[in-house]
């Protein structure tokens, strides 16, 4: 518990900044919606008929003129990218930063088991991801209500759940990688998050690359698919769960035998 509390104390400022930034972007976009809606009827058909560009961002299957459609696309890009970057950053730094900042020698010469340290760090990463997502969800739902639109509870909650799971998966993969690093790996974390995002866009562009949707967690966090089906894709979630567990197991395995620098 001491270590979890310490970890959260160390990271609350960064968490606050990320939460407020992502939340603010979503609120600003939602408050622009009433203005856009009046002009949307003509624009919507243009958006949905831009060929590859439309399918890349799901504009062909979601109606940009409705709140659900607008939110699915807009939220998809803000919380999708922002949340993924945040999750990757805290995952990749969790174990590696101790050695990068020279504090590993302090921490690891206290009577803690290596597994105990991994658990505390993992729990604190998951708590941070949870806090960010619950806060952003509250801000989003509140904003929808504030602009006088009926809140599509099920759709918004499903979408946010998918993004939460995406971030958990990405954080756990990066956490596993983190156990191997001793210099910090911001580049690796951000690179991985962005690469997975673009893999999903490629998969959206051509049906031949559909298999890619199973590899990237963005595959199960696709607004258009979630809204049309009314549920998350269990199969893709299962693949994501395997990646999540693999990253976590890797962290325990490696950190228990790691030579600390």
């Amino acid at each position: 518990m001491t270590l979890i509390r310490h970890e959260l104390k160390q990271s609350w400022k960064a968490l606050l900044i990320w939460t407020l930034s992502i939340g603010a972007f979503i609120i600003i976009c939602l408050f622009m919606y009433p203005e856009m809606k009046s002009q949307m009827n003509s624009i919507s058909s243009i958006f949905s008929s831009m060929g590859a560009f439309s399918s890349a961002f799901g504009l062909d299957t979601l109606d940009f003129g409705s709140l659900k459609g607008f939110y699915g696309i807009e939220c998809g890009n803000i919380l999708g990218i922002g949340g993924a970057l945040f999750a990757a950053l805290i995952g990749i730094g969790a174990l590696a930063n101790e050695e990068k900042n020279g504090t590993a020698e302090f921490l690891l010469t206290h009577p803690l088991s290596r597994s105990g340290i991994v658990t505390a760090k993992l729990v604190s990463v998951l708590i941070q991801v949870l806090i960010l997502n619950v806060s952003v969800w509250l801000m989003a739902v509140g904003s929808i209500a504030a602009i006088g639109e009926p809140v599509p509870w099920k759709e918004v909650t499903l979408l946010h759940t998918a993004y939460f799971l995406l971030q958990v998966e990405l954080a756990c993969i990066c956490f596993g990688i983190s156990a191997f690093l001793w210099k910090g790996g911001i580049g690796i974390g951000l690179g991985l998050a962005i690469a997975l995002y673009f893999i999903n866009i490629i998969a959206n562009l051509t049906s031949k690359a559909d298999v890619l949707k199973y590899i990237t967690p963005f595959g199960y966090a696709d607004g258009s698919e979630i809204f049309n089906k009314g549920a998350l894709d269990a199969c893709k979630l299962l693949v994501g769960l395997v990646f999540t567990l693999a990253g976590t197991a890797l962290a325990y395995w490696k950190y228990n035998q790691k030579d600390i620098r």
Binding site: T2, L3, H6, Q10, N101, G102, T103, A104, E105, F106, L107, L108, T109, H110, P111, L112, S113, Q257, D259, I260
Partner: protein, 295 residues
Amino acid sequence: MESKAIIAENLTKFYGRARGIDGLDLKVAPGDFFGFIGPNGAGKSTTIRTLLGLISPTSGKAQVLGLDIEKNSREILRRVGYLPSGSSFYNGMRVRDILKLSADLRRKNCDASAAELCERLQLDRSRKVEDLSFGNRKKVGIVCALQHDPELLILDEPTGGLDPLMQHEFFSILQEKNQKGTTVFLSSHILSEIQRYCTRAAVIREGKIIACDSVDRLAKTGARRVTLRGNLQQDFLPGIRDWTEADGIVSFLYNGETNKLVRALAGMDIHELTITEPDLEEIVLHFYEKGGEQA
């Protein structure tokens, strides 16, 4: 293995191909004030980090306080206080927060001893650690190592960055702890402090222990430091080394019968003469140069 504070047998650590320590044997008895001497890169820190479980040995075995370093690392860490050679802490934290964190991680309340140690070391607990000088950060490390009153203190180059007054206070604290039964194991390349404070010492060179004995016996090798003003040649007698000559003053180490030295000098033109025991520094330097042959 018998009951020792530290015992290492054939302990070896290679980083890939690079040698850390190579077949190291070491025994430290409970209650010792033990010095671990060696130049940079000899393997002092590697030895300490292996004993504490930060790195795992390539081969060999070791026990600390009778506990296996690979199987019981957590229990060892509970009973040991460790001061790393570098002092890095979490940025943004104040000294008192660091001390509290360290105590909490040990599930102990150390407020009283922390306050006393900070007072004696003149450490301001309200400062942020990143604003502290290297010497003051070192003090934070010292308090973290000492405040929970461990049975064994392992200190890696403890005096770096401390001014002479603080070094003196620090060693006074260590001596008080030692008198109450705490075993002290400190590494250093400053021989004078080991000669002054330690009762036993080991010399490490290229990953191996090349000498281990009481400091008195290590310093007593039979060799003598001879300094004189006069005119003579280096080869006037066998057993002479470390020959220096400046401004007519000749200085050398002599290892042999004193009688022979006196007789040889009697026939020469000598104005001043002193014969003293060499200090530990000279002896250890000799160990390093000669690759560990007995001086």
